[in-house]
Amino acid sequence: MNKLFERKNRTGPVLFSEYEKGSAVKKALLTDRDDILLEIRESGLRGRGGAGFPVSVKWMLTAAANSPQKFVICNADEGEPGTFKDRVLLSEYPELVLEGMIIAGYTVGARKGIIYLRAEYSYIKDFLQSKIEEMRSDGNLGKNICGRKDFDFDISIRLGSGAYVCGEETALIESLEGHRGEPRNRPPFPVNTGYLGFPTVVNNVETLASVPHIINKGGEWYHKFGTGKSSGSKLFSVSGDCRYPGVYELQWGITIKELLDLCGAENTKAVQIGGASGICIPESEFSRQISFEDASTGGSVMVFNKNRKMIDVLQNFMEFFTEESCGQCTPCRIGNVKLLEGVNMIRNNEYSLEYIEKLKELGETMKIASKCGLGQTSPNPFISILNNFKDEIFGMN
């Protein structure tokens, strides 16, 4: 087998622990749907795509919707810079992801699942397809799953075509429907009006992959990991200036300092938590916890050492956002360009502090006025890097 898809020697409390293929689907299909919802609620599982929405609520709303058709979508667009944990799950633990989708389908009453795989991961597609076929021939996918006459579920894979914004769930749905990946207004939410107008669960790869373990070992067991509001484990994609970059499965609540020690980071100046749209944390705050309550991340942890210039980081991120803004709404389309201009003014020493403050205000406006999460979060690095690294940046010329 291609070494890309060989399972590495990984350990972790949940996702990287032992799992018997097919066991959770078998168990779930013998369980009442409402009991699965209760179990998921007890686990406290929250979405791993970044926003942290409670999974039980999303599933309950979809289950409650009265509709001839429903869908389960696995969001495998993983576009947030510095994130690669879904790549590891899809290529080393595909059965967890697929079984999570089946269990979601059973629970909410959907018969079709779609994996939206980013174009940059197209090399994983054939492998995933072969796993789907394997499950089909094992009777775990397709008609009458596990012999249950009242449950059919099948999964297909769709490729993206290189657009970060398509990771936003409504843009993703637009893309699946054959349109430009432009986010919709929310509400209505996909749980009511999703793919082709039908109730749809959209969940991140890691969210779905957590489900089989919760089914097998129980919500209470899962809830023991992590902190109160951020229960369970989290995959962190650690990259940048450290000796051991890679994917770590750890409990929510770990401090940044502890994570830096684990990955062999030295001489660290800053850690960007949550990708380009996240926040940049300076050394003085390395005792902060990584959790929904404190420093939250969909998985991206980028480490920068003391030789790096923070203005380079900021410029890189703002270029990213100006390129990836879909252009639908004005605050995001124009705002990101203005913030990037500001970065270049600072670089060229052609700025006034007063104007930079204006730009930060513009950033705050973008957070409120942008149509989707892209423009609502893209000012984060601008504001946090300029605030946290004032001396370096404004004293640099």
Partner: protein, 157 residues
């Protein structure tokens, strides 16, 4: 485009209409498959696809223009993409890109006059643990450097 070329495209589009449900939800897979075979989606074929799916040709063009990996103009026989996100940048991807720009005399987004190579920048391949990274015709290359990248590109047909 001459009639032979047009016929080839017409035949392929009708194959695709059999492969997929011929409605709008299939637009992206159809465009992706078409492009894989012909390199880019020419205007004539955009109209064919639009006609088959019963949508306006402008809609097809608008979708193509939205996605970075879809092309409505000819591209090179090989597409080289280098990650320019910050982790790769700090690990040297800028120097690698500069070397490609110098060696092949093209800027990001351009194609060499001999049609061998299209060069692009991409924002994070999700290979940041094996950075810097590069993608050549869909195949990934990890932990590249200036020498290895240029060697891989030079060996392309």
């Amino acid at each position: 485009m001459n009639d032979i070329e047009k016929n080839k495209r017409r035949e392929f589009v009708s194959e695709l209409m059999n492969k997929y449900v011929p409605d709008r939800t299939s637009l992206l897979p159809i465009l992706q498959d078409f492009q894989e075979k012909f390199g880019y989606i020419d205007e004539y074929s955009q109209q064919l696809i639009a006609f088959e799916l019963d949508i306006h040709p402008v809609e097809v063009n608008s979708v193509i223009s939205f996605y970075a990996f879809l092309y409505d103009k000819p591209v090179g026989r090989n597409i080289v993409r280098i990650c320019k996100n910050i982790v790769c940048e700090f690990n040297g991807s800028k120097e690698i890109s500069d070397a490609v720009i110098k060696e092949f005399k093209i800027n990001p987004g351009e194609t060499t006059p001999d049609g061998k190579l299209t060069f692009e920048h991409v924002n994070c391949f999700g290979l940041c643990d094996k950075s810097p990274s590069m993608m050549v015709n869909g195949e990934i290359f990890e932990n590249i450097n200036k020498e290895s990248a240029l060697k891989i590109i030079k060996e392309l047909k």
